[in-house]
């Protein structure tokens, strides 16, 4: 009974997924749903992500997962702009390019971590554990 009560009280993790391609969104949704306890919000490009974060306030999300290459505004610029708002939510860059230069660019923009696509259960669990969201 104590375990069930604790589980019920545990707040859901609020995740913002910033990704323009539907196939990657479908996979991420399924992975996050499989883990349970996640409320997922989605943005189709960096500009929309910045707007959602600005409107939601500093504590709107527990985690932001962002693709790099997107129309309108890419993940690097979105990360810079989110940080410029004073938001310290963990941001993890995603890309199928994982050269050192790509990782560095995300970190320099203000991301906390990077994971190469495709997202998997193991990669997601590592991210959630790293930011104490598991």
């Amino acid at each position: 009974m104590a375990g069930a009560a604790a589980a019920a009280e545990r707040r859901a993790i609020r995740v913002l997924l910033v990704e323009d391609e539907e196939i990657h969104r479908v996979l991420a949704r399924a992975l996050l749903r499989a883990g349970g306890g996640v409320v997922l919000d989605e943005a189709g490009n960096g500009a929309e992500a910045v707007r959602r974060v600005r409107e939601g306030g500093a504590g709107a999300y527990d985690l932001i997962l962002t693709d790099r290459q997107m129309p309108v505004m890419d993940g690097h610029e979105a990360t810079r702009q989110i940080r410029a708002l004073g938001v310290t939510t963990p941001i993890v860059g995603l890309s199928s390019d994982c050269l050192a230069a790509d990782v560095d660019a995300f970190i320099k923009a203000g991301a906390d971590d990077f994971t190469p696509k495709p997202l998997s259960k193991e990669k997601l669990n590592r991210i959630l554990a790293k930011f104490n969201l598991a």
Binding site: E21, E22, I23, H24, V26, L27, A30, L31, R33, A34, Q69, S96, D97, K117, P118, S120, K121
Partner: protein
């Protein structure tokens, strides 16, 4: 049981020939009663994206002056969706394709486009067979 055996043989062949990698197993593990068509959904998206992207690449590479940055952007997209579905051969060919984009080699890009096209349509055909066999097993089509 014939359909089940055929499906197992097909998937084993796809792994053995390098068409699929372990990412496809990740998709299968995510399919459950709350999301019974998950694999079909992802595979269908991949096939639609792949056809569209290959068409765009062919158009871009027909031009007398090739915009290699645009070609690279499309190949990057195809590489990403291939990786997500476990389409190993297509993904690896996309990696080579990007090298030709970066070295601005039209001949290299055209040859690799042919390879990607062949591999993609081979995989798409096998995915279509896989989905038909799965539907048979689910009883959607009478035996």
């Amino acid at each position: 049981m014939a359909a089940a055996n055929q499906l197992t043989a097909l998937l084993n062949n796809m792994y053995a020939t390098g068409l699929l990698d372990e990412q496809f197993q990740q998709l299968q593990m995510l399919q459950d009663s709350s999301s019974p068509d998950f694999v079909s959904e992802v595979v269908t998206l991949f096939c639609q994206d792949g056809e569209r992207i290959i068409g765009e690449l062919a158009k871009l590479l027909e031009k007398p002056s090739v915009d290699f940055d645009r070609v690279d952007a499309f190949v990057h997209q195809l590489k990403g969706s291939s990786a997500s579905v476990g389409a190993q051969k297509v993904k690896n060919t996309c990696i080579q394709f990007r090298e030709f984009c970066q070295s601005r080699s039209k001949d290299g890009c055209l040859k690799t486009l042919d390879s990607v096209r062949t591999e993609f349509y081979d995989l798409r055909g096998k995915f279509q067979t896989m989905l038909q066999l799965e539907r048979q097993l689910q009883g959607f089509y009478p035996k």
